[in-house]
């Protein structure tokens, strides 16, 4: 229980055996009394075993679906087990669980809260086309939301019961759909979005990509997903 609410931490993990156990232990240590669900997204390594040994509940998908697929399963679990709040935390250790109570508190006045990297705290930087994509998305969504959203691609997010009820049945599986399309749909349907500034840490495992080709493709796909989600029903 945090702030009188039943909170479930959902950690989507795909081949994260190196870091998932530490993340689970840290979450359980910092936040006693919250549910911890690791969604093993069809890993080929020992992600499930490591997470279970560290004390998490594990739901294992039979094959890889991507973050969106893993998260819909997480929201369904939260929905069926009557949680008030579902919070997504990445399995690579970049999200600090000490911010979780802040996210939960922010849900008092919002349906969906994003832990945002560019909102003043921390020193996260990106460059080139990836940055343009993020800047444009953030500008467009902030305008639609009538409140600032400076980090639309953050994977550190909290949903209240109303949003859980939507995501248990609708959550896009496509690349970037789980970040961009989700936000557009929420804003278009009158859900209130808010953000809380957070510092992200170095990933414990895995490296982010900085190739210019990849970030250009990223820009194009982000633009496409955004355009599609504006016209989709």
């Amino acid at each position: 229980m945090i702030n009188g609410k039943r909170v479930l931490i959902v950690i989507p993990a795909w081949n994260e055996q190196a870091s998932v156990a530490d993340v689970v232990r840290e979450v359980r240590g910092e936040l006693p009394g919250v549910g911890v669900l690791v969604v093993d997204d069809g890993s080929k390594d020992r992600t499930s075993d490591m997470a279970r040994d560290a004390g998490a509940t594990v739901a294992r998908l039979p094959y890889n679906l991507g973050v969106g697929g893993a998260m819909r399963l997480g929201y369904r679990y939260g929905y069926e087990h009557d949680y008030d709040v579902v919070i997504q935390v990445d399995a690579d250790g970049q999200h600090d669980p000490r911010y979780v109570p802040k996210l939960v508190d922010a849900l008092d006045d919002a349906d969906f809260v994003i832990g945002a990297r560019f909102a003043g705290e921390g020193d996260y930087t990106v460059h080139g086309p990836r940055k343009w994509a993020m800047t444009m998305l953030s500008a467009a969504l902030s305008r639609m939301n009538h409140a600032k959203l400076s980090d639309t691609t953050s994977g550190f997010r909290a949903a209240n019961r109303r949003t859980i009820e939507l995501f248990a049945f609708w959550y896009p599986v496509e690349y970037l759909g789980d970040t961009i399309e989700v936000l557009v749909r929420l804003v278009r349907n009158g859900y209130r979005l808010a953000q809380v500034p957070v510092t992200m840490r170095q990933r414990q495992a895995g490296t982010p990509s900085h190739s210019p080709v990849k970030s250009t493709v990223y820009l194009a796909r982000a633009a496409l997903i955004f355009a599609l989600s504006m016209v989709r029903k």
Partner: protein
């Protein structure tokens, strides 16, 4: 011209027999069997008598019946491809839901056994 007619007629019959064999072995859903069977029934007479569509094609301003058949074939195949993409998308959504159900059931089973 006769040689060409033989070639097209044989091709048409070959496709029809492949469809028949697939249906007979229960490898093809009935709806697709009906679709392709109808295509075969339309195409084979045209393969044997390529001139059949000439009056129609002249009436709608296409120079020859053969061109009209080619045009219609391209449009038809395009529609079939779109339909198949749609069907694959639907199937993926269905398997996704099944995968989630399976994962939830197994999690629940483990929780009950553990208690």
């Amino acid at each position: 011209m006769v040689k060409l007619t033989i070639l097209t007629a044989i091709s048409g019959l070959a496709v029809l027999s492949i469809i028949f064999e697939l249906v007979r072995r229960r490898q093809l859903r009935e709806k697709y069997a009906i679709l392709w069977g109808l295509v075969g029934i339309v195409v084979i007479p045209l393969a044997i008598f390529p001139g059949l569509l000439n009056p129609l094609s002249r009436a709608i301003g296409v120079a020859s019946g053969v061109s009209l058949v080619l045009f219609l074939a391209v449009v038809f195949l395009l529609v079939v491809c779109i339909h198949l993409s749609w069907e694959v998308s639907r199937l993926e959504e269905e398997t996704r839901t099944l995968a989630e159900d399976l994962a939830l059931l197994r999690t629940e089973m483990r929780e009950r056994v553990g208690q």
